[in-house]
Amino acid sequence: MEKVQLNINGFTRIVLVDPHETILDTLRNRLFLTGTKKCCDEGTCGSCTMLIDSKPVLGCLTPTVRCVGKEIVTIEGISSGDDLHPVQKHLVKNGGMQCGFCTPGVVMTAIPYLEENPNPSVNDIKEGLSGNLCRCTGYKKIIEAVKDAAEELNT
């Protein structure tokens, strides 16, 4: 076991972790931050996407020990109180989620994507979300929600 200091959602946490443990397991099992979901645990579905130093990263492929000294932002760090991020707000409004299990990963992919691509076309958004598996929605309402969020962020 190794003692590591992690910066998660702006707050410092000290945890004991296995050297091969993923940040996904550390968050879920040791810190009870269960908003990040474990769907495939092998880098194929995007459900465990989180931000590390502002970049979207798959938590299931990232060892916790490599997150030391970096800024980790999880789904729990996105909205504060009543203020949903526009991506979250439009996902709710547009019906861009059904079972909701892939949704935190979609949010954590779409937010940094829109920061880099403020005016995406529908095809751009499809590319941007191409690592996020959703089995419920057929993606249409997710894409529409991200488009609406982009418009709101631009005004």
Binding site: V92, M97, G100, K140
Partner: protein, 758 residues
Amino acid sequence: MSGPIGKPTPYIDGVDKVTGQAMYTDDFRFPNMLYVGLVRSPHAHARIKHIDLSAAGKDPGVAAIAVGTEIPISFGILPISPDENAMAVEKVRYVGEIVAAVAAETVEAAQKGAEKIIVEYEPIREFIDPEDSLEICGKDEQIHSHTKEGKNIHKTAELRFNEPEKALEKSPFKRTESFKFAGVTHAFTEPHATIAIWNGDETLTVISATQVPHYLHRNLSKVLELPMHRIQVKKPALGGGFGGKSDPFAHEMITAYLSMKTKRPVKCTFTREEVFITNHGRHPTTMDMSVGCDNDGIITALDTDVIIDGGAYGSFGVVTSYYNGVLLQGPYKIDKLGFRTRRTYTNKPQCGAMRGHGAVNPRYAVEVILDMLAHDIGIDPCDLRMKNFLSENTLTVGQLRITSNGVRECLETVREKSDWNNRYGKLPYGRGLGVACGFFISGSALPIIWNRYPQTVVHAKLDFDGRIVMFSGASDIGQGSDTILVQIAAEELGIPMDFVQVEVADTKTTPVDLGSYSSRVTFMVGNAAKMATERIRNEMAKAIAKEKSVSAKDILFRDKKIFTKDGTLDIAWEDGVEIAMAGRGAFVESGYYISPKLGGDFKGSGAGLSPAYSFGAFISEVAVNPDTGEVNVEKIWAAHDCGKALNPLAVEGQIEGSIHMGLGQAVSEDMRFVQGQIMNANFFDYRIPYSVDTPEMDVSIIESNDGEGPYGAKEAGEGPIHPVLPSIGNAIHDAVGIRMMELPITPDKILNKVREKN
């Protein structure tokens, strides 16, 4: 409607889901909790000679061990085929079957403990190809001892109406074709998970990712020999089901048993590979089908012979066997109809119910053959379909009662929107349009376990805070049933949705609902919720009428006000609540739904009976690259008759999700096995459509308004998948002139056919 019914309504649990606050089963933890490690069979078919538990038993991290002989009572979703055990007893029947289990202090300790259990096997002849299961085999080779004639056939379902074979012989136009469908799986995103808690008062609480808390409740009671009144099953937020969580599962029995044994909370969560191994997906199917037409394109008869590969256990298989035939009775009028389905046992993970249960593959076959017949006769495929539709308010040949029916409007809608008349058959080589229709039950009219109870009961509670709480066993699996409960209460009582909350899917506190399967929830639970809240309204009106000296029947509830049209009464909701509760306090009203008695009196007449049926018509546009065999589904026009759409946002979501799932089965998804070992138990190799694969979707909701449904509603969760696959198959024909008889339609198959043709 003056309230939220019929208006696009975001889910009430939407904010919890987008913020990561929604709690799914694996997100729960309890003090002193143990974790399950499972020992799975490496053999497809083998006798268990010996299980050595000694090393695992000495492991300090292991709190308890269990093997099949400790809880040998069999279970299954259907009372006619309870052929599964919590853990294998005497023999294993598929690679991955659970043989033993440990409960340990951590996930890692559980895995290590399980690895220390040594099982000796004696392999038996394996049955992988369903054709082999149709032959007589040795008594010792039979997968289950109860199958008849020394074969591994689980079920033969057969019905024949009005000698279809004779009519086919005489038909001027006839097609007999063979089809083959790969097995596909639900691939819900949340892996199976369950937590069992043995409570100090000797009751068992099970929190599980299940579509059917009620049937899990019953099966836990049977296997654990624990009375039903000491079991509570709760379904928290659930990450997708599509039928894949509609059976009681072995791991649920095991986890509960280990909790009883250790008197501690126990959790079991599957890996993605384990989810694939568990399967319960759509049956791999081969199908010979004949359809005849007269010179005008009127269908004369249909006859089909189907083999479905059930895998090692029964699951919903008896129902699936019937559905492969009986759900061919719509949307076309076919008075001479015959089918035989044989469901084989094989040494693979079991197949069961998956979205569109039992009807997706035969729908592909019949819609492709109708397309071929239209070409043979020389009439437009849409015209041929229009000539053959069932009418409203009619009986099919097998006595399915058709009430509302919007299929004509569905087809007219997509025909017009896609500019079919100007484009079909006229697009350049490599581009094509295809049409197909569909039809599905809106809830099974018969419960799985026969009893005299309603299929669902809803309690609505009114209390001093002015809030309505809806108590329902309905299981929201992402389709939005919790939101529908709130919409209905708000509609009936004229209050904002935030005055209504739900307590759901908890077999201790909520009245029985049978579960989220067979597209029954909006229809049945909706009716019960409407009745319960109407009764609340009537009770309130009675009390207010007495106190305010007005006639109860004149009292209206709207916009959080309670009033009469003439203005003699005009009070706020809260004042009405105070009057209604005076002298009696909080009260609960109950609503229920029982399907009317339906159907004929022949054997098998119960299959496919539903109080209402949904209809649909889709047109797909595809681009096919004849050099690479690549198919790109570019656009789908979808029109679905769901009766009144109570929440159009959710209905659209169901139609769009059906397009996604249908597209996957049509062009890429395929459960591949070699010697009983699944080869693609991950999302790299089992290809589900991602966002870049998603076609443009033009969705039309056709509201035929059914007399039996709540506010006229019918189903939307499963029916929309049926037309997707054949509309793609037929579009490929329009594009490059080839008929695809095998799914998935992968590039190699396209290339072979294109080469054959040229």
